[in-house]
Amino acid sequence: MGDSGTVVLSVKNLQTSFPSRNGKARAVDGVSFDVGRGETLGIVGESGCGKSVTALSIIRLVGEPGRVEGGEILYGGRDLLELPLGEMRRIRGNKIAMIFQEPMTSLNPVLTVGAQISEALRLHEGLGKREAMARTREMLAMVNFPAPEKRAKEYPHQLSGGMRQRVMIAMALCCTPDVLICDEPTTALDVTIQAQIISLIEEQKSRTGAAVLMITHDLGLISEMADRVIVMYAGKIVEEGTKMNVLTNPLHPYTEGLLNAVPRIDRDSGTLDVIPGMVPNLACLPEGCAFRPRCSRASEACLMSPPRFETLGSDSSFHGVNCWLAESAS
């Protein structure tokens, strides 16, 4: 599937669930994908559809009482789910790094920015205090920090939101990871800063050749950055394909709905389109297709059983969808 370079990370049939009062909530239910070197894979969907849990499952940090129950996460020929905890820790932050949504709370208020960036360096590369600080200053300069020597000694509250997100990026990239997971990296930032952060991530990706997993609900960000796109709904992949295929020719009514909900500068409509209803309770999904109650084109068939994943198109213009409509059309 990977259309640019070798596959770095491969997720196969991932199952993560949380126990709840109404039974097991399957937050991630049979998700599979590959990311290749230098490739950006976008994962989109509403809040609560399993994007972030997928990311946390990969680094095995799903919070209690959630549990990864099945599947494989292959990295470097090994299944991460099978690794002992100590080895997993050596991979986190070193080979697989992550950028969070909220730069305001992701930095420790009582430690200097420099100390926090050098922490990963000291953990993974065994650098001494002074060497780590030198590398930290280099990293800060790389993420376009003015006066890195000075800024390394400052505390998070002295920095703006955009600056803090730069610190997070520097922290994530300081060990040159193979996989960079970005969980809504620009959501908390204003638009001009978003653009800077996006170009910074792009720049660093091309520098290090890392595979990027871009988790977002911002389709504009996807059209800007992603090579391939996965659309998730209720813990499952409902549509997958190259960016062009998914964004210009959506096959799943949910993807279509998401695209219609994006305000367009060339269309003069008074109100924005919305997808009616809400993400279903994961502990008691509707029968058949999980999207059926909200789908404008649902039919009898949708009620019967969940649709199967249909693949269309060849390798270079891959397109897959999880919908009865597409099945009947083909």
């Binding site: 820790r89 932050g93 992701s106 930095l107 420790n108 208020p109 922490e119 990963a120 006066a147 000075k150």
Partner: protein
């Protein structure tokens, strides 16, 4: 990005005025110094600490030296604060007593703090059975009346300074544990704790490097406010004869002895009593000031 002058980068506020950037510590010291009463308390504490440290050089007499001929003399030129029933210089005994009081206060709180922070952090971070076990133990310890509990421990351990340290440490660790447990429970959900794990940090690293430093200011305040309590309890223990043993000088023990002479020589008990009051008051004022200075919500 436009090139920015190295020194002025981002250091100017929206109004063009230089925004002074201070660290947390420097800021707190400034706030602490803004309160005159706190400075006074700090000066008193510094003097006490100096007295205790340099007692052999400062005290005019050997605190153990008995001159029976001079016993129960009132304050005068020879003995500034008078002498006790065995003719020992009261001033010297109070200066040496400061050693006992301060070290009991500090050491017992450090013991309490070590036990409390460790157990509190474990309970708060891991929750579940560890939390239940530690919390119930905490409640059992806290259920005893403090002085009775101290007396019971001293009775088991036997009198002596070291045992006073241990008894008072065992007495007050629950304050620290309860506080740290609550703080850690709150802080472990912070994203920077998760960020440390994502960077490959272990649980121990998350606790020690990220969570405890965030509790530091509250712990410091608790130590400062716990010391006067420990000093009072030590005085009480010595007063009833379970604490520091004669001939070592302790304020509580001096008051206890002075009691016998209170009808015709009341001055004897006033001096050590005042010493206790001043020390405890200074610690309390300083602790309150410290709490205000370190409270981020009061930051302007």
């Amino acid at each position: 990005m436009a090139p920015v002058d190295k020194d002025s980068a981002g250091l100017f506020g929206p109004d063009g005025l230089a925004v002074e950037s201070r660290g947390f510590f420097a800021d707190s010291v400034l706030r602490l110094c803004a309160n005159r009463l706190v400075i006074l308390a700090a000066v008193v504490l510094a003097i006490l600490a100096a007295l205790a440290l340099f007692a052999p050089f400062i005290s005019p007499y050997d605190p153990m030296k008995q001159t029976l001929a001079d016993s129960l003399h009132g304050p005068g030129a020879k003995h500034l604060l008078g002498t006790d029933e065995l003719g020992r210089d009261i001033l010297s005994r109070i200066i040496y007593g400061a050693r006992i009081s301060l070290s009991v206060g500090l050491v017992s709180q450090l013991i309490a703090c070590s036990i409390g922070v460790l157990l509190g952090a474990i309970a708060g971070f891991y929750g579940g059975f560890a939390d239940t076990l530690i919390s119930r133990t905490m409640e059992i310890f806290a259920a005893f009346p403090e002085l009775l509990f101290a007396i019971a421990i001293m009775f088991v351990l036997g009198p002596g300074v070291i045992n006073v340290f241990i008894a008072l440490g065992l007495l007050s660790w629950t304050h620290y544990a309860r506080l740290v447990r609550g703080q850690v429970m709150l802080l472990r959900e912070m994203e920077y704790a998760q960020a440390c794990r994502v960077c490959g940090g272990s649980n121990a690293r998350v606790i020690i490097r990220h969570l405890l430093p965030n509790c530091f200011s509250t712990i410091i305040v608790l130590v400062t406010l716990g010391i006067p309590g420990a000093i009072l309890t030590e005085a009480s223990l010595s007063y009833i004869g379970l604490g520091v043993q004669p001939p070592m000088a302790s304020w509580g023990q001096m008051i206890s002895t002075a009691q016998q002479y209170v009808s015709f020589y009341p001055y004897y008990s006033v001096a050590p009593g005042l010493a206790i009051v001043i020390t405890v008051l200074a610690f309390n004022i300083f602790g309150d000031g410290l709490r205000d200075a370190l409270d981020p919500r009061l930051r302007r």
